[in-house]
């Protein structure tokens, strides 16, 4: 049964937007701190009563302010993993996990759950203070899952453990996910973590849900400049959308990049959503950039046929293991700095100051409005 959340409030903090999460799907709420991720999670758990909201799992609603419905947290059956675990310090691991359970089988079920997350029988008898951070985290996950919740909520669960433990816990979560057939919502400020664990991202800023979608889809086509910033798109530039005219190839319009004599007019995909004359941000994903042959300093080829080649100078080259991060500066035309990841056969020795030819696949260029509009309430899938 999928989780559907729609919220719109102004007090005590702004919180607006909607998103959905299918059974077995893991959605990550990402955004800078103060974006309202945790507040949204608390509203789902029933720890916060929103002004206007509808929170439903399948046909059962937990909160529907239009109907005056608010189910208290006790009756929601959510599994919540707190940021600092919130384990009961006066109970051992086993009693902590048995806390949500009733009946004679409770200790047996708690023991079974703890075994699944990898705690030894001896560790189960220890209190939280006598367990390592990673073990505490496992206990917290076990407590959230032991009641077979209708929704699993994870509030920055990996922020308090070190890098080594984090990798093991990622693996644990991935393994547990196989058996969890309920919607899962993860709050994180770590984009890499979100991309690694989540099926979809929900990008938030200033309390507003800006976009929901698969990580690669958001990277290819961020809804607006704010989303592009939050998901950390390196190659983002400003321009002016001129729209289509008689000379533009079918399905495309003109993007003016740069100003004055140095301005380039690029034919890019026109989705008809932006008014001509409007200032826009545009992005090009890593797949749309490559190094091509014949460096010709001083010449800009604003070619048709979906390609643009620009002479560019190496600024820096950083070796990140199998991947090299190359920064390039375009000197002619609009002054812009690009960032490319080189892998496999593309790897070659390069020195700062060296001239290269940068080819941009214009069919992969995505344009978007600069201001964050109020259209943020619609979720883009």
């Amino acid at each position: 049964m999928s989780l559907h959340v729609t919220i719109d409030q102004t007090q005590p903090m702004r919180l607006a937007g909607s998103f959905a999460c299918a059974p077995g799907q893991l959605v990550a709420l990402v955004g800078p701190s103060g974006a309202g991720k945790t507040s949204l999670l608390r509203a789902m758990a029933g720890l916060m009563k929103p002004q206007n909201a509808r929170i439903c799992v399948g046909s059962a609603c937990w909160c529907d302010t239009a109907q005056g419905l608010f189910v208290p947290p006790q009756q929601r059956n959510v599994g919540l993993v707190f940021q600092d675990y919130a384990l009961m310090p006066h109970m051992n691991a086993l009693d902590n996990v048995a806390l949500p359970l009733r009946g004679p089988e409770r200790l047996h079920r708690a023991r079974e759950m703890l075994r699944r997350v990898g705690l030894s029988p001896e560790q189960m008898q220890r209190r939280p203070a006598q367990l390592s951070g990673g073990q505490q985290q496992r206990v917290a996950v076990a407590r959230a899952l032991v009641r077979e919740p209708a929704v699993l909520l994870l509030d920055e669960p990996f922020s308090a453990v070190d890098q080594m433990n984090r990798q093991t816990l990622y693996a644990l979560l991935a393994e547990l996910r196989e058996d969890i057939a309920v919607p899962m919502v993860l709050v994180t400020h770590d984009l890499n973590e979100a991309r690694l664990l989540a099926d979809e991202l929900v990008v938030m800023a200033e309390g507003v849900v800006l976009q929901q979608g698969r990580a690669d889809a958001i990277h290819r086509a961020p809804r607006n400049a704010r989303v592009a910033d939050i998901v950390g798109i390196a190659n983002r530039f400003d321009g002016v959308w001129l729209g289509a005219d008689a000379n533009s190839p079918p399905g495309t319009g003109w993007l003016r990049w740069g100003s004055g004599d140095a301005a380039l007019h690029l034919p890019v995909n026109d989705k008809g959503r932006i008014e001509p004359g409007q200032s826009v941000a545009w992005v090009v994903p890593g797949e749309g950039l490559r190094l091509c042959e014949t460096p010709t300093p001083g010449a800009v080829n604003a070619a048709l046929g979906g390609g643009l080649s620009l002479p560019a100078q190496v600024v820096s080259l950083r070796h990140l293991g199998d991947v090299w991060l190359l920064r390039l500066q375009c000197v002619d035309g609009p002054q812009a700095r690009f960032q490319i990841m080189l892998t496999g056969p593309q790897l070659r020795p390069l020195v700062p100051g060296q001239w290269l030819q940068l080819c941009i696949d214009l069919s992969m260029v995505h344009i978007m409005p600069i201001k964050t509009g109020s259209g943020a309430l619609v979720s883009a899938r």
């Binding site: 758990a45 029933g46 720890l47 208290p72 947290p73 006790q74 009756q75 929601r76 059956n77 959510v78 919540l80 707190f82 600092d84 919130a86 384990l87 009961m88 310090p89 006066h90 806390l99 949500p100 220890r126 203070a129 006598q130 390592s132 407590r143 009641r147």
Partner: protein
């Protein structure tokens, strides 16, 4: 040793605990959780018996509960009991002057419970009542224990308020603290000495118990924890 006075004092101390523990727990938890504006005023009222001279407190209690007062008259007309110069009057006074000793340590320990533990309990499906018994009370227990001990010992030793409210009636209002004063007045220093020593021992024990409860006096093996 005035055994009658000691028995009376112990009876008074236990009766005070019986009344103050449930009401003090409730008030302390409310003060620790509430965001009401009345909180500051109620907290001030709770502390008042601590700063007021005992004779002043006793005087006001005497005046407001005595036979001439509306409350005193109502009690004698409808219930047929007097509220001063008897055990009941002593008990009322004892409850009032012990409010800060009961409420404050419990309130501090409720305040020290991280709020996310309460939330974790609620999300785990525990009712407010179950959360209180299984999470809040066990975690606040050191404060509760220390409040019980303080109140108990304080009741045994209270002098000023008791004298004002109860006088010095053997078997009815003569507590051990009054008996000590009595012995000294009668130049029976060895009698006063024995009873004073007993109260001293009680007081030292109380301090030890409340330190152990708050974890500041714990043996080394208990404070050391596995990394």
């Amino acid at each position: 040793m005035d055994w009658q006075a000691l028995t009376l004092s112990l009876k008074l101390a236990f009766a005070t605990l019986l009344i103050l523990l449930p009401s003090g727990l409730w008030l302390a938890r409310w003060l620790a959780r509430t965001r009401s504006r009345a909180r500051t005023w109620i907290e001030a009222a709770v502390v008042l018996p601590l700063v007021l001279p005992p004779t002043v407190l006793g005087y006001y209690l005497l005046v407001s509960l005595g036979g001439q007062s509306p409350i005193g008259r109502w009690a004698s007309d409808t219930l047929g009991v007097g509220l001063t110069f008897n055990f009941l009057g002593l008990l009322i006074a004892s409850v009032v002057f012990n409010i800060p000793f009961m409420v404050q340590p419990i309130q501090r320990s409720f305040e020290a419970i991280p709020h996310n533990l309460i939330e974790a309990s609620v999300v785990s499906g525990l009712s407010t009542w179950a959360t209180f018994w299984r999470v809040e009370l066990p975690l606040a227990w050191p404060g509760v224990l220390s409040a019980l001990v303080l109140t108990f010992v304080h009741t045994l030793g209270e002098f000023g308020v008791v004298l004002m409210m109860g006088g010095n009636i053997p078997g009815e209002t003569r507590t051990i603290a009054i008996a000590i004063y009595d012995r000294v007045q009668a130049f029976d220093l060895s009698g006063a000495n024995r009873m004073s020593l007993l109260l001293l021992v009680f007081s030292v024990l109380a301090i030890v118990v409340s330190l152990v409860a708050s974890g500041r006096f714990a043996p080394a093996s208990r404070t050391r924890q596995r990394p």
